[in-house]
Point group: C2
């Protein structure tokens, strides 16, 4: 039985291939999450972890096997001493693509149902013209399908991360002014129609936080705030292992913690670009944040200026995240070069007014650990979250 | 069968009466929550809401009835047209007391298992001497038991809210300097032994948020930040109807969002007391925040001064809560007089920098709606959360 059938997902641009809404029941999703996290895992352990009866587990696993979503041994133990083989996710059952669209760059990743990264793509690309980007994405998808070694009919959808904030709960993003073509429009419908696939939109900070929770710091920290430093500043929140999006999807929009008058000094790579380009002796002006990041040198004098100017805003953001959430960790990521993240963490501090020489315990400050584009990785998890997990 | 048996709850001061740990299974708790929120409710509706089979519901409800935790009709429908009677919480099955200990006042409330408030107690009381307070609490408990019309053996425990922040995850609170006797010690053990009941400690802001979620604004808003304005400033967080405490129980410790240099101007009633007492013509100096609140007059000139001085801090806190959580609402409560809350809300604003004339949607600002001491109400929910919900 093929998991991918043809009915159009409601409101997602009449894609040519899709998985029906509500494909997996709540119990099936619970099992799939467990199997992805702990597999290979025996039916007995699944029963223990879920509190369901072994009988229910056997039935549910059989239904998942029937649809080729999991693989494993026979459905029941064949006798004492001959336990059934443990269950794991059928990796090639389904694929998902995550795309991160920046003002000056594109990044894409394809993952299989087990979460394994199968292929990636990154390039500097002027994204001002949405039509041009969409056409280019079509060919990137084709290349990824070849590189990832899967049939396009197994692709359940595309998650797309873009900078900006949601103005309502229906997916219209107020993107930065330089990305005017992407702002305040139904991107899920437009991109879905152009790519002939269901599309999910997320803002870059929340997508990166979701990516970090699966592929990075989330492996050590169940609850964290994620500060996303790119051309602009954003972020996301993960609580108890799950993304917390808030009413409009804007949780972790950390720019909002800063008084408007201080926003020119907020920690963005746009500010670093301006400082580096204004500094005599750097050799050349960099045309974009992407070019700056590729050439980044922690010894540039402008780095020290950037750290000094942004220090107060960083403290305000860290202190707000710590006070509001009391999370396990705060993760610094985005497009910020790792060398700059370390310098920022060295100098960062939380507002502290100890009582009896003791203050609250503050969260651990860590650098992103995904080793890739967290926003694209997080975007890739969205179609799977919708259908399976 | 009596729900209250004698084994001591581990680590809670060897109380004379208690309910064993792990008394209710996860499924039983789920049912009890549903029945409390939606009862009277039929077994068929319980099956629909939980996704469990009707057979499982019948069995689980029978077990809860056996322990006198719920009441209702016969266990199975006796035939078409004769449906079973709906199930509801057996209100008198168990009682819980919530206490809020302020620097200059005590407040207590007793609730039954259905959540109904059965009796309350409030008084100005100097709480500097913990031994004196504990003895006094003993007699308050006795009075409440009489006024609430229940037997003390039905009391499952006492929740206690005090100001301060947790320094670890084990219940030691760093209370304000004026409450030195309460700080950095194992209050659950001390109070539990003195009251001969299991005791749960929570900080006042988080307790008030929990109270608000059940008895106040939570009836209209699933996710909110709660700003607790009393002698000091604190708060709590409720997400999807459940308190979010954070790693150390300090989520919503909003003082931490403010730069240390601005803390003298944070919105506290201690500041209002100082301003009122410094103003000529108020007639007399008030000895405490409690006395000030009882006599509060919105026309005092000091009120305007307080609003002006605290405005910036209020904006910083509101903006931090909105940016980090994107909640449905922000609730202003604590000991702040309702008339002052309204003035504060009128003048409050979020940091806003619109893009294309559109900013994020900000949460609704509302005043506490519990009509009582939210911290004591929230504290009263703790023993029930531990045992039943």
């Amino acid at each position: 039985m093929d998991i991918v059938s043809t009915p159009a997902a409601a409101g997602r641009g009449a894609p040519a291939t899709s998985v029906p809404e509500g494909f997996c029941s709540a119990n099936e999703r619970r099992l799939l999450r467990l199997i992805r996290e702990k597999g290979p895992i025996s039916r007995a352990d699944l029963a223990r972890e879920t509190g369901l009866t072994l009988q229910s587990i056997v039935r549910l696993v059989a239904a998942l096997m029937e649809r080729d979503l999991v693989v494993g041994g026979p459905k029941v133990p064949s006798g004492p001493g001959q336990p059934s083989l443990p269950i794991e996710i059928a990796r090639d059952a389904a694929f998902s693509v995550g795309v991160s669209i920046m003002d000056d760059a594109l990044s894409a990743v394809v993952i299989d149902l087990s979460g394994r990264v199968r292929a990636t793509h990154e390039e500097l690309f002027d994204t001002a013209d949405r039509g041009r980007v969409t056409r280019h994405l079509g060919s990137i998808l084709k290349d990824l399908s070849g590189a990832g070694g899967f049939d396009r009919s197994r692709l359940v959808g595309v998650g797309v991360a873009i900078p900006g904030f949601f103005v309502d709960s229906r997916g219209a993003v107020n993107a930065p002014l330089v990305m005017n073509d992407w702002a305040l429009t139904d991107l899920e419908a437009h991109l879905g129609a152009a790519l002939e696939l269901p599309v999910w939109i997320e803002n870059d900070g929340s997508a990166a936080a979701a990516g970090e929770s699966v592929y990075g710091a989330g492996q050590h920290h169940r609850s964290f705030a994620y500060i996303h430093i790119a051309s602009g500043l954003g972020g996301g929140v993960v609580l108890d292992g799950k993304p917390w999006r808030g009413r409009n999807g804007n949780a972790g929009e950390f720019t909002g913690t800063l008084p408007p008058s201080t926003r020119p000094d907020r920690p963005t790579l746009r500010l670093l670009l301006d400082l580096v380009n204004a500094q005599p002796g750097t050799g050349r002006p960099f045309p974009s944040v992407g070019a700056l990041v590729q050439a980044f040198d922690p010894e540039w004098p402008a780095v020290e200026t950037w750290l000094a100017r942004t220090g107060e805003g960083v403290s305000a953001i860290l202190s707000a995240a710590a006070a509001v959430l009391d999370p396990d960790a705060i993760v610094i990521g985005g497009r910020i070069p790792p060398g700059l993240t370390l310098r920022l963490i060295e100098r960062a501090h939380f507002y502290s007014v100890p009582v009896r020489d003791q203050d609250r315990r503050f969260p651990t400050l860590v650098a992103s650990r995904t080793g890739g584009d967290s926003a694209a990785l997080g975007a890739a998890t969205l179609p799977f979250l919708h259908h399976f997990f």
